[in-house]
Symmetry: C2
Subunit: 199 residues, 2 copies
């Protein structure tokens, strides 16, 4: 015996979610069928809507349903001559939540990774090049992740800025605030020592 | 800044799934938006379909989209005079996967739990009573979970069988096959000793 066709289809459909295997998918399907059909219909509706209408912001490439995202549509933010480059919309939100940065963003939606076929065109560097050329940008802050790919991407973009004689800076790597030296990996500590500042 | 309204709605909608908190919901939403819009549309479609069309089998109360489930629609299974009582469709599948039991099922879709307002009517015991009365059942196997509520439910149904003079049996509790005595809890070991059989 197996579950009825519709239930099997539902369990299979849930398996596309990240971190969801056959057992979790089964649990999700039965949970909704037994206890929250209204919520499931709502999820179905919202999911359809989001997939149909969420596009990329025409200026910064983050996800949004309008032509421009909230930040790109804000004239105050656009006057600022600093451009922060991040890998994903989630990274953009993390920077925003510090309320520290008041400039514009550019979201790569990934990082350079030739082995996966992701080159400059795939992460929108042509569009970035036009922004650097036409808009009045004085500093580019490279906030890509401190991974091998993130560093390579930052290096590539720094070179682009150099040809346009725009200042490029990289966010600091070091000991996280509240972290304990004992548990920090050697690589990070080396960065923290090299990046030391006078007090 | 926050994510755009549609993305926020999508993240909130994912939070209804069991075991999914704000961070997992965000990961799911962005994973689908970035990498699998086709799969997400399919999930939306299947979810809607399942919630609209999956009902309970009219005879055994398991989930299915037809009047009768696969087992209740099978005349061979219906001729068998044994009725197995389980708490959920998942339990029914677990029993089926042993290929050991060839009779009919009755799925309670829960267990007696007066504190949550779940009485005999909520777990379909009126329907079960009619089956015991009208159909030709000679033995009822009580395969509810070995929890306090499961035991209470089994006891209640055993009493129902007694009034109809139908034999009722409870599945054995004891040491799981492949388990090691060292790691078995005392309660289970007591059951295993009390339920010992001659060899």
């Amino acid at each position: 015996m197996q579950f009825s066709p519709l239930i099997k289809e539902l369990i299979d459909a849930f398996k596309i979610l990240p971190g969801v295997g056959p057992k979790s998918a089964q649990r999700m399907a039965f949970h909704l069928l037994e206890r929250n059909r209204q919520g499931a219909l709502q999820l179905s509706h919202v999911l359809h809507n989001a997939m149909e209408h969420v596009k990329h912001c025409e200026q910064c490439r983050t996800f949004c349903e309008n032509k421009l995202c909230e930040i790109c549509a804000n004239p105050k933010r656009q006057e600022n001559q600093t451009l922060c480059i991040v890998e994903s919309p989630q990274d953009m939100l993390a920077v925003e939540q510090t309320s520290e940065f008041k400039g514009r963003y550019f979201v790569l939606m990934g990082h350079l990774s030739p082995i996966d076929g992701i080159g400059p065109a795939e992460i929108g560097l042509e569009q970035l090049s036009q922004i650097l050329e036409n808009d009045d940008i004085t500093e580019v802050i490279l906030a890509t992740n401190p991974t091998v790919e993130g560093e390579a991407t930052a290096h590539y973009i720094a070179q682009m800025c150099k040809t346009q004689t725009i200042k490029a800076s990289r966010i600091a790597h070091g000991v996280p605030v509240g972290g304990e030296l004992e548990f920090i990996d050697g690589n990070t500590l080396t960065h923290a020592f090299n990046g030391r500042r006078d007090i």
